[in-house]
């Protein structure tokens, strides 16, 4: 299925917009049924780390 997604050219960032900002938000049973705020924080941290990593890569280029 993952391959089908890439073939259809769905950009990860557009998927994340929807999966992290959209969708039904219910509190599940486990702490992982992440409350709004937590998930946004998690995703932001992931995205920021990625940007910083990309920047470092650019910085290392001659």
């Amino acid at each position: 299925m993952t391959r089908a997604i890439s073939e259809r050219g769905v950009a990860l960032i557009d998927v994340l917009d929807r999966l992290l900002e959209g969708g039904v938000v219910l509190t599940g049973d486990l702490t992982l049924a992440i409350a709004d705020v937590d998930l946004v924080r998690i995703s932001l941290r992931a995205l920021i780390c990625q940007v910083e990593a990309d920047r470092d890569d650019v910085g290392r280029q001659p």
Binding site: M1, A4, A11, V15, R18, G22, G23, L32, R45
Partner: protein
């Protein structure tokens, strides 16, 4: 395998055979949990909760989980109306999922009614990124300041122009759509594309008018030379799952 269940979406009129062969998070088999005419689309949740949380903090792992979630939702959405769930909603066992369907039966039924026969279309607009003229180092401090202020003025004008153009496009598209919702503009450095993302919107469109809608979007964008258009989808209606969804923009 665990008893706990990861919920991807809720749908209607789904038979177990409709989900045959579909796999979700970590390759877990997807199966239905039914309550009256509602069906929760679930799979076994990853066993280690702490490990899953840690995975969601790494972009590469977040991508794997998000794509698995999205793939299930997209596959089910081709067969029936669905209400997608947000990433990582997990219940202790199948019985708890059934209880949630029971408790929120009216809410989910109303949402499914509203979303039947619709698709979500993503529309992104970018303001053309014309690099500002470089400020030439000048012997005259006054000339330098003038150049700087001209540059700021041009940038302000560019933004005002883009904002007005976005409003024109959004209101025309909104007139054809059943509903609309705005996501946060995407950060330029994450996109790797030219221009600033000035509109990141989703429109709920009758499935039968999808072509008409995308044609209109392209036509409107052609009339706005300051903007570049990107249309995504059709998506399952992720952005329209609030019970009393109004215009969130």
């Amino acid at each position: 395998m665990t008893a706990s269940r990861y919920v991807y979406a809720i749908g209607r009129a789904l038979e177990p055979a409709d989900l045959a062969g579909l796999v979700g998070i970590d390759g877990a088999e997807v199966h239905p949990i039914a309550h009256r005419d509602l069906v929760a689309v679930v799979s076994a949740a990853p066993a280690d909760e702490a490990a899953l949380r840690a995975r969601l903090e790494r972009l590469d792992e977040l991508a794997v989980v998000a794509e698995a979630h999205h793939a299930v939702v997209a596959a089910v959405a081709t067969q029936t109306v669905v209400v997608p769930f947000r990433l990582a909603t997990i219940y202790r066992d199948e019985q708890r999922v059934g209880e949630v369907l029971h408790e929120r039966y009216a809410e989910f039924s109303a949402l499914l009614d509203r979303l039947t026969g619709t698709v979500e279309v993503g529309v992104k607009l970018y303001a053309e990124d014309r690099a500002p003229a470089p400020v030439t180092p000048s012997a005259s401090g006054r000339a330098y300041l003038q150049q700087l202020s001209q540059r700021h003025r041009r940038r302000d004008e560019k933004w005002q122009h883009a904002a007005a153009a976005v409003e024109r496009v959004d209101s025309s598209l909104g007139a054809l759509a059943l509903d609309r919702s705005r996501h946060r503009p995407q950060a330029a450095q994450l996109l790797g594309v030219a221009g600033d993302n000035v509109l990141n919107a989703a429109y709920l469109v009758p499935a039968g008018r999808l072509t008409e809608f995308t044609d209109l979007a392209h036509r409107l964008a052609r009339d706005e030379p300051a903007l570049r258009l990107e249309v995504t989808g059709p998506w399952a209606p992720y952005s329209f799952t609030e019970p009393d969804h109004g215009d969130r923009s």
